[in-house]
């Protein structure tokens, strides 16, 4: 009997570890593949031109141009704009849900917020085109509502649930001692939140923001539909922009495999990969520190 059990144990462990190794191989493979393809770009395009050149025009009438600066700035503008919307709303909602709302209300609202996260970005983009951008054009007297501002709103809505969920989790996980001791000393609820909870949860909330940032950087379809997509370097919030994600999505359809354009798009993909990976990595470390500090 023991022998049989031992074999079974070993087999199960083997099976599970095989699954893990497969998963790991896949995930490493993704990075490796991207890297191999993308890095070839630099055999023909100098890194300076790529990263600092401000014109991206692979199909130009004359010489193709390979500078991603305006694309990067496009990504940064939308990300920044979306966070401006999502951070205040997000943290405020998180505080409300975790500290102020009655449990019944919290239980009702939390799933609703989760549902926003489930809405596909194309649908938000659709609403952006049909409803939001004409509205913005009208409100601000612009000739067109397809610009960085509209994109920021759309991406902001997408990022909001992430920030709310994680911030709320962080706040709820703070031990009750914090609340009780603060109130015992005579603080009002708001004072308690402001002076005790928020500082304690700060690193966790920062992490939540970073995760939201990662999401904003990676958003493709919602932005593609309302960003205006012009190659020029954006100067104001009401200029059209062309973030890296939208650029890849648009141009990948026309590249012949193995061509320089193909490799260049992979290089952009690599940049995106590294950016989001690093942001997520940092925020993870912050969250882990936070959790370790306050959980027993």
């Amino acid at each position: 009997m023991p022998n049989y059990r031992n074999i079974k144990e070993k087999l199960i462990e083997l099976l599970l570890s095989t699954a893990s190794i497969t998963a790991l191989l896949i995930l490493i493979g993704i990075f490796v593949f991207l890297f191999i393809t993308g890095i070839r770009t630099f055999t023909e395009i100098s890194p300076t031109e790529f990263f600092l050149g401000n014109e991206w025009n692979p199909t130009a009438y004359g010489e193709p141009k390979w500078g991603i600066l305006s694309l990067v700035i496009g990504t940064i503008i939308v990300t920044f704009g979306s966070l401006v919307i999502a951070i205040p709303l997000g943290i405020a909602s998180a505080v409300y849900l975790s500290e102020i709302a009655k449990p019944k209300i919290r239980e009702t609202i939390k799933p609703v917020i989760e549902m926003i996260a489930g809405i596909p970005s194309v649908v938000l983009g659709l609403i952006g085109i049909l409803f939001l951008s004409p509205l913005i054009a009208k409100i601000f007297g612009l000739s067109s509502g397809l610009n960085a501002f509209t994109s920021s709103i759309i991406v902001g809505v997408m990022v909001l649930p992430t920030i709310i969920s994680i911030s709320e989790d962080v706040l709820t996980s703070l031990p009750n001692e914090f609340r009780e001791s603060s109130l015992a000393l005579g603080a009002t609820k708001w004072q308690m939140i402001r002076m005790t909870l928020l500082p304690a949860a700060l690193s966790g909330i920062v992490a939540a923001i970073m995760l939201g940032l990662g999401r904003a950087v990676g958003e493709t379809m919602g932005v593609l539909m309302v960003a205006g997509n012009s190659r020029a370097m954006p100067i104001s919030f009401f200029d059209p922009i062309r973030p890296m994600t939208a650029n890849i999505a648009i141009e990948i359809k026309e590249v012949v495999k193995g061509s320089l354009h193909y490799e260049a798009l992979f290089a952009i993909g690599l940049v995106l990969f590294v950016m989001t990976f690093v942001v997520n990595f940092i925020s993870d470390i912050i969250i882990e520190k936070q959790v370790r500090k306050y959980k027993w």
Binding site: G118, P120, A249
Partner: protein, 284 residues
């Protein structure tokens, strides 16, 4: 002191408004789509093949089928591997720097943009493995994308089971697998299931990866093998919104969104209810 209370009330009001706004965003989106899109939904819309010449005569049936096939494909690929990996990493693997790094890396991969997975899928599955633009290439690509998500969610579910459960089981002489199977899994199963379903519903809403891997706009036939091209709701919706010239295209785009959202919600809420029921059974 009075000042403090006034201040508190002001802030709390602001917070209430903020939450209210967040909720309003969602409700607005849903209501808008419902109001504008419901007009086109009828049996014909849902069950007929797509007609290009007169879109009022056709339906989005093939797109629904395509999306369902994708959902099945992604589930088969990512759920078993994902859950097994989570179990291994959390229960079997030794707690050392390597394991922690791996877990961290996987969690971060869940945050990588879908378009990056898309170009990877294009380069690897479509071109390198010569699978062509097909259901299976798309399923594999979306599967890779969903894998880190499912692993992470399952891991969280496993971690939430207190250590004491496992220790008690070992103390009684159980083997590792017995412990996992009888003590840990039943309690984390609902969490893992929810995580998987959320991952799948995220995958079927994705457009960017499938654009380059086999989604088509018009197909007169249903995909009959994994190597066929396919229609899918998100891509269909995208084209209707940006490229179709029929005056009805917008309504149809909204109707398609409604169907897509309904599908996702059904998936989520079905398992939400399931999780609730499973949770009730747990007694600790």
């Amino acid at each position: 002191m009075v000042n403090e209370y006034v201040r508190q009330n002001i802030y709390f009001l602001l917070f209430r408004i903020a939450t209210f706004l967040s909720v309003v965003f969602l409700l607005f989106i849903l209501l808008y789509i419902l109001k504008e899109g419901i007009g086109v939904i009828d049996i014909k819309f849902l069950t007929s093949m797509w007609s290009h010449r007169d879109i009022t005569q056709g339906g989005i049936f093939p797109a629904i089928i395509g999306t369902i096939f994708l959902a099945i494909g992604v589930s088969i690929i990512s759920i078993p591997i994902g859950i097994c990996t989570a179990i291994y990493l959390n229960e079997y693997a030794k707690e050392n720097l390597l394991t922690r790094t791996i877990k961290l890396a996987i969690r971060n991969l869940a945050g990588v943009p879908s378009i990056v997975y898309g170009i990877f899928g294009l380069a690897f599955f479509v071109l390198f493995l010569k699978l062509g633009g097909s259901l299976i290439a798309a399923s594999l690509t979306l599967g890779c994308m969903t894998l880190p998500w499912i692993i992470t969610a399952s891991e969280e579910a496993l971690k939430s089971v207190p250590l004491s459960f496992r220790e008690g089981s070992y103390a009684l002489g159980a083997t590792k697998w017995q412990t996992v199977r009888k003590n840990v899994l039943p309690h984390s199963f609902s969490g893992m299931l929810t995580g998987s379903i959320l991952g799948i519903s995220r995958a079927i809403g994705e457009t960017a990866p499938i654009i380059m891997i086999g989604a088509t706009f018009f197909m007169g036939y249903l995909p009959s093998s994994p190597f066929d091209k396919f229609m899918a709701l998100p891509y269909h919706l995208f084209i209707l919104a940006t490229q179709h010239s029929s005056p009805y295209a917008r309504e149809y785009a909204l109707g398609t969104s409604l169907v897509l959202i309904a599908l996702i919600f059904m998936l989520n809420s079905g398992f939400f209810i399931l999780r609730y029921k499973l949770r009730k059974k747990k007694e600790w």
